[in-house]
């Protein structure tokens, strides 16, 4: 079956534009909204990679849960308005060439390396994924739920206002 590469380029351009917009917006709430758009586009990338279950989990966890958490954290705190240097560090200009050089080098190395990749898509269908997740890897999955429970309890404890002393 022949796939067109055009959807990949559209979705990945959306991902990169939204990620750059997220960093450059001065208003934190605009950054959060473009982060939501970026995560949604990444879910599109997962669908292009035949990972529908991961795409659904991405929408549920990142687009819904983590964005709501971030937006609530932004709404519960107050942010200043001002010029560029109130939002960016002084070292942002210094680190930019290093990041660009490292990014270009790693991209070239990864994109020109030869992989003995297969021609057809290898990601299994959702039934097989569910079998892997809930049978073969069920113990790590349960441990992960315990980790999440402890983390949520810790977050509540950290953010809780102490009323009585």
């Amino acid at each position: 079956m022949e796939f067109s590469p055009i959807p990949f380029y559209i979705v990945s351009a959306l991902v990169i534009i939204c990620a750059i917009a997220m960093i450059y917006f001065k208003e934190l709430i605009y950054s959060a909204l473009s982060m939501v758009a970026c995560f949604m586009a990444i879910a599109g990338i997962y669908i292009l990679l035949n990972a529908e279950l991961v795409a659904g989990a991405q929408v549920l966890i990142y687009v819904a849960a983590i964005s709501i958490l971030v937006i609530f954290a932004i709404m519960l705190t107050r942010h200043r308005k001002g010029d560029f240097w109130l939002f960016f560090h002084r070292q942002s200009v210094v680190t930019l060439p290093f990041v660009v050089v490292a990014g270009i080098v790693l991209t070239v190395v990864l994109a020109t390396a030869a992989y003995d990749s297969s021609e057809e898509a290898l990601n299994p269908p959702d039934e097989e994924m569910a079998r892997l997740l809930f049978q073969d890897y069920s113990f790590p999955f349960e441990v992960l739920s315990l980790v999440l429970l402890v983390a949520i309890m810790g977050a509540i404890l950290l953010a809780m206002r102490e009323r009585r002393r």
Binding site: E2, F3, P5, V15, I16, A19, M22, L28, M35, I42, I45, L48, L49, N50, A51, V54, Q58, I61, Y62, A65, I66, L69, V70, A73, L76, T77, H79, F87, F88, H89, S92, L96, V99, A102, G103, T107, L110, A111, Y115, S117, S118, E119, A121, L122, N123, P124, E128, M129, L132, D136, Y137, L144, V147, V150, A151, G154, A155, I156, L158, A159
Partner: protein, 103 residues
């Protein structure tokens, strides 16, 4: 079919956008958002390798992505909890001004 290298290039570019944002922005909430972006970039490369490289158990990379999801959710919860607690304590969230430990 789009070659594997294109997905890896996308993941690398996204990772370094997140890394630069993490170093450049001042607000702690923004730093946490950039860390989430970097975790997403790693997830893209995991799913891409799982889709393209032959393995005895197909889909192992995808299972790993679910664990990264869980851990990043835990990290976001604790990090934003710390950010809100710091805001209550100090009334500011700029990483320049939170230098009480003189690191």
């Amino acid at each position: 079919m789009t070659p594997l290298q294109h997905y890896l290039a996308l993941a690398t570019i996204l990772f370094f956008i997140g890394a630069w944002g993490m170093m450049a922005r001042r607000n702690i909430i923004m730093v946490i958002m950039c860390i989430e972006l970097m975790l997403n970039a790693v997830n893209i490369s995991l799913v891409a390798f799982s889709n393209y490289m032959p393995s005895p158990v197909p889909g192992r990379g995808e299972v790993f992505v679910f664990f990264v999801f869980g851990l990043s959710a835990a990290e976001a919860a604790v990090g934003l909890g710390i950010a809100i607690a710091l805001y209550r304590l100090r009334e500011r969230l700029s990483v320049d001004e939170l230098d009480g430990m003189k690191g």
